[in-house]
Symmetry: C2
Amino acid sequence: MHTPTAAMLVIGDEILSGRTRDSNMHYLAGALTGHGIALVEARMVSDDHAGIVRHVRELSGAVDHVFTSGGIGPTHDDITAEAVAEAMGVTCGIRDDARAILQAHYNRSGQVLNQARLRMARIPDGASLIDNPISAAPGFTLGNVHVLAGVPTIFETMLASILPTLTGGPPMLSQSLRVERGEGDIAGPLGALAEANPEVSIGSYPFHQNAIHGSHLVVRSQDGAAVDRVMAALRNLFPEAT
Amino acid sequence: MHTPTAAMLVIGDEILSGRTRDSNMHYLAGALTGHGIALVEARMVSDDHAGIVRHVRELSGAVDHVFTSGGIGPTHDDITAEAVAEAMGVTCGIRDDARAILQAHYNRSGQVLNQARLRMARIPDGASLIDNPISAAPGFTLGNVHVLAGVPTIFETMLASILPTLTGGPPMLSQSLRVERGEGDIAGPLGALAEANPEVSIGSYPFHQNAIHGSHLVVRSQDGAAVDRVMAALRNLFPEAT
């Protein structure tokens, strides 16, 4: 069975300047892995219209799903909706359904739906809205591009509402072992095992901790029996591993 | 004066699967900003030879400096050196200078420079080595591509040794204000101020904290007087800001 692929576009100058440390990519990676969708690439890019258009086009043509975060608020530097619309060849304006959602939200809170807030009702033609139970301003899905908020709690909530609607493949299964030996000591037999078992991927992630040099070995496959078999072989190779 | 540009390529399946949360991109972003180099894009990609070759070529042609992290250890999944060599059109093999560094290191620690460890002496033709005082295996610079380790402490040490050798532009200066009002309330005057002061970039980064909805406003420019002037205007607009 085909495992759907995904890419992420993290949009925001604050990420590239080092002011803010993105957490949405790591969250998305874990959520997609659990859902049987393979995240194959992530890009972090600046608040630049032409750049966002180009990246959305490239990624949208290369994978099954593109997820974006950031740039859908009310301020002048929130330019994601227009850029995604242009990338996908549709127009973008204030949409009545999104305006109604915002109007109801601000009525409840006694605030005014001013010109700035109305920017959050800019939704590309043909996009379907993604619910935002936290601050109302919706995300949207246009073609295979899912446009989510940058604030992590809102990003995560929006993702929770669309992920169940996306078809996943068999989830990627993984098991790991901790070996307190330097990678140079284990790399030979590890490489041979990886070559003999192409149906699994074997990763080695070194750590240096309290003067111990070791490695976490991770075996991944959609085939649980294959993971079990290779893990048993690893335990034979490295009996001291935990 | 021209501000040099940079891009980052974070290499590793473990990042995209959600197993590991990358920290090198955020570290690099801050270090480059302080050095007057603008990080304009970061990509996180998997341990795939053809993919790495393509990304290195694209980024190397687009910016002044490319930094990579990951994939230069001794195990079978460490394939960065060959991929960068191919991207830049040179060959890659065990190099005597790198082998001598490793040999001295393993002699000191009483370990054997076996076939696996020797993989860490694979360095592209014409590359200059980057010192690794922690675990000896060097990184390298080839053309405008700087290949660093993935382990954060080693990445940071390698960066510290090459960054002073790179020419930076005037550093980007920034000041920020915390406003405890929703973005929708401040976006109008903020956008007008941004339009009237194109020599600075003004970012608005919303937060939701303890039931307070507010925003951090960040003013950035290489022109310190312009930052001061716009900050004063912001304090006039939002006198309650801190």
